[in-house]
């Protein structure tokens, strides 16, 4: 355990280089690329962490062991150097009170850098020690794996049991989901039965498996009066596997549901909104008709449509509500959003041709009932229609049919229609405070519109706030002449909206044009969602962490149980690294089996939720079914985290075992 100067010096230089590299990489990426700040941080800090791991691995060979002291001293000096460097660089503060980071923040950063360097270095060094950094590198693990297998009792029978336990419940859940989706099509009443059936099937299957295992065990080894002793460690191993599986299960399901929410939200936002707005740093965008074809010609742009957006007040009868009035071009609106497909009654085209709006009662579209599940909504539709039929003369008293036909059309959201009790054909008043000056002062301007269609996007805010009129009507209403507010854009690749937007702006010659993409427009919503997801991920990772403590204690028990065996192996010449390998392999096996089971269970649960469609109250949530989005990358990340944590859990017991003296186990008797 002597201090090795060379290892220390190399560690110091490399750690310093990694830290400097991180700073340079971050500066370079932020200047030269269009990456989001999150991606930037992830890449630069991820790279730094990876470098620390590799440095630890490398230094372990120089230090012929963990090199804890060498790395520790080097990390300490790195922390001091980082503090000095950060002081010079003046990084931005996380606090809103000041612009530059305070000394306390710098100390925190430096300490985190040092601690991270040491911990990650030790992690990397553990891999080095495993591969024989202390002497001759040795990548083989033939007999170690064999011994690890016997410690875990992983013979053919237990393997079969594990496969059965790992596959049967998820399989049943999956089947139950498929079954439920079949039943669900027939009616909502059977779905409760479906849950009971599915749950019953799972329980029955678990009982059957347990029974089968018991029967096999009885057949295999229980002769009358004889009972094979099963060490506590085997039970603990099973518990550890179950712990990891539960953690991974929870993590995957919750993250999938969160992703589902996110994806659903994105879908709905992009259904109503375009991918980006093309705006101008001035109020005059009257040249839009010449800009439009240029924008449409930019590769990657799939749709362009002009718009005007302003706030107004709506009234119908006695009810008044605020709204966002959007002037659109119904002919091209479909190319940038899903508006035409959101119509549940009437027709979007009628805003441009209000004379087509019928004076008779308009029935909701038949496909709308598919979108709008739930008895409450049926009730609402009935009420609305009944009211229309009961008071058909309401508007007719005021306006003759011809004048009625001449009124411009407006499309309103479903919630709005609910609030102001207006249906297709009703006349509503739109009021803007931007009115005329009269001798008595400014008077708001008001115009009657006829409801042309009802829209349903699924987003409560949109359905209760947005109303759409024809673009020329909006220009007239707001007295804008031929001016518009901007162009709505749609791209091939939603996720590259920012980069695509910049390309459009540069195609137009840059300033005074600019774009705002959907992520920017809805930043609050998405960053809240991301934060929520991150918090959930961290909290649920703690479940896996706790499961890894299970692995830790199981392995410590195993080491204690196998002290004698370790001694014998060492007396036969097994190296310390080999003994370490045995226990690391055991922990990794436990972790990997648990992870695989958890992933299968998670996948089956996601598929079940998706197919069965757990109902949410659409008045509370903007979503009628619990959404899930089982993302492969996310599953892989969970698996990686879980296996990495179980590897960490093995290090202490494995190192302990490897450092046991050979006589420790021989002396006992």
């Amino acid at each position: 355990m002597k201090f090795r100067k060379r290892a220390f010096l190399v560690a110091l230089v490399l750690l310093g280089a990694a830290f400097a590299g991180q700073l340079v990489l971050r500066a370079f990426l932020s200047n030269r690329t269009l990456l989001s700040p999150d991606a930037l941080l992830a890449i630069s800090f991820g790279g730094e962490a990876l470098a620390f791991l590799l440095i630890g691995f490398f230094v372990s060979f120089l230090a012929r062991g963990f090199g804890a002291r060498e790395m520790g001293l080097a990390a300490l000096l790195l922390a001091i150097a980082a503090f000095i460097a950060l002081r010079q660089l003046k990084p931005p503060s996380f606090s809103y009170d000041r612009f530059f980071a305070s000394t306390e923040e710098l100390i925190l950063w430096a300490a985190l850098t040092g601690a991270g360097a040491w911990l990650l270095g030790m992690w990397g060094a553990s891999a080095g020690v495993l591969l024989g950094a202390a002497g001759t590198p040795d990548l083989r693990f033939g007999y170690e794996a064999g011994i690890a297998r016997t410690h875990l009792r992983l013979n053919r029978r237990t393997a079969l049991t594990l496969i059965a336990l790992g596959l049967v419940p998820p399989g049943l859940l999956f089947a139950a989901g498929v079954l439920a989706s079949l039943r669900y099509r027939r009616g909502a009443e059977t779905s409760a039965l479906g849950v009971i059936v599915a749950a019953g099937a799972v329980v029955a299957a678990l009982l059957l498996v347990a029974r089968w295992v018991q029967a096999r065990a009885a057949l295999a080894r229980l002769q009358p009066g004889q009972r094979r002793k099963r060490p506590a460690t085997v039970v603990m191993t099973a518990i550890s596997i179950a712990g990891v599986a539960v953690g991974v299960w929870a993590l995957t399901v919750v993250l999938s549901v969160m992703s589902g929410f996110e994806a659903d939200l994105k879908h709905k936002i992009l259904g109503t909104n375009s991918h980006a707005y093309l705006l101008k740093f001035s109020n005059d965008f009257s040249e839009w008709k010449s800009v439009l074809p240029k924008v449409a010609a930019v590769p990657g742009v799939t749709g362009v449509s002009p718009f005007i957006l302003n706030e107004v007040i709506l009234s119908h009868g006695q009810t008044v509500t605020g709204a966002e009035l959007k002037g659109i071009d119904p002919a091209t609106a479909g190319t940038v959003s899903e508006l035409p497909r959101q119509v549940i009654a009437g027709d979007l085209k009628w805003v441009a041709s209000p004379q087509d709006i019928p004076t008779s009662v308009v029935e909701p579209r038949s496909e709308a009932s598919k979108q709008l599940e739930g008895p409450e909504y049926q009730q609402y539709l009935e009420d609305t229609l009944k009211r229309r039929q009961q008071h058909p003369e309401e508007e007719k008293n005021k306006l003759d049919p011809q004048a009625l036909k001449a009124l411009p059309g407006v499309c309103i959201g479903k919630e709005m229609s609910h609030q102001i009790r207006a249906w297709v054909g009703d006349v509503i008043s739109v009021l803007t405070p931007l009115g005329e000056m009269t001798p008595t002062g400014p008077v708001p301007r008001s115009r009657p519109f006829r409801v042309a269609c009802i829209l349903y996007s699924g987003m409560y805010e949109y359905d209760s706030k947005f109303v759409y009129i024809h673009l020329p009507e909006a220009q007239k209403f707001f007295r804008m002449g031929d001016n518009i507010m901007g162009l709505e854009l749609k791209f091939n690749d939603v996720d590259a909206a920012r980069a695509e937007g910049r390309r459009v702006v540069s195609a137009l010659g840059g300033f005074p044009y600019r774009t705002k993409d959907w992520a920017e427009l809805n930043r609050n919503l998405f960053s809240a969602l991301k934060l929520e997801k991150l918090a959930m991920a961290i909290i649920l990772t703690f479940i896996v962490l706790v499961a890894c403590f299970n692995i830790l204690s199981t392995l410590i028990m195993l080491v204690l149980e196998k002290t004698k065996e370790i001694s014998i192996l060492k007396s036969m010449g097994a190296r310390d690294a080999s003994v370490m390998k045995i226990f690391v392999l055991e922990g990794l096996t436990i972790g990997a089996i648990g992870t695989a089971m958890g992933l299968l269970l998670g996948f089956a649960s996601c598929s079940f939720i998706e197919r069965y469609g757990l109902q949410l109250d659409p008045d509370v949530y903007y979503i009628s079914n619990l959404p899930v989005n089982a993302d492969v990358g996310q599953f892989c990340a969970v698996a990686l985290i879980s296996v990495a944590l179980s590897y960490l859990a093995t290090l202490y017991p494995a190192t302990k075992a490897s450092r046991l003296s050979p006589v420790d186990g021989l002396r006992e008797d």
């Binding site: 012929r64 016997t150 060492k570 036969m572 010449g573 690294a577 050979p662």
Partner: protein, 246 residues
Amino acid sequence: MPPLVEARGLHKSYWLGEKEIHVLRGASFSLEPGEMVSLVGPSGVGKSTFLHVIGTLDPPTAGQVLFEGRDAYAMPEEELAAFRNRSIGFVFQFHYLLPEFTALQNTAMPGLINRYSREKAEEAARQVLEMVGLAHRLDHKPGELSGGEQQRVALARALVLKPRLLLADEPTGNLDEATGEGIHQLLVELNRRLGIAAIVVTHNPRLAERMPRRLRLSEGLVIEGSGEEGEVTSSGAISSPPGPGT
């Protein structure tokens, strides 16, 4: 030519709570290649400790163990492990076989530790198991073998890599007399056939008598001869050890 093993002034002490227990107090001795000696002494005198120290398992508090003139405990851990793997075989009072492996797999273990291929290790194991008379028991697990057979497997395992030194710690202590006798005969025969030097710790005076050279451990020192008549060798001074075959 230096002797195969030479122990110089071995001291070994343990701390038992507050009390220091001196097990070895300057024990010295040397062993020529192919020589076979017995080591006797009352229980608790430190025979096992002595064997562990000689067998590079337990570093002495003071003193040196030289293998062909090389200080064993000066070697780094990995090198020492490799040396132990190839040059020293251990047999203990209990067989200490790995219960989940068959006789063949148990015997092949030192070969596998030496990173032989599975085939090579098992071939070597098969030969040694035949030598100890267990050719028909290759695929039995230790639980399915008798006590004598288990100890034979342990012996085969100790010898599979053809070490130059065999250390046997009461190999017959847990067996009945007839079986123990068989093991002993096997030990002597193997020593003769393979020329492996051996130190056999035993409680059985009749078995000890049969060895060409007898040592006794007393008061932390190694004494030549098994009875009271043996001469006491002072630490470090060993009068001309007998050569092989004498």
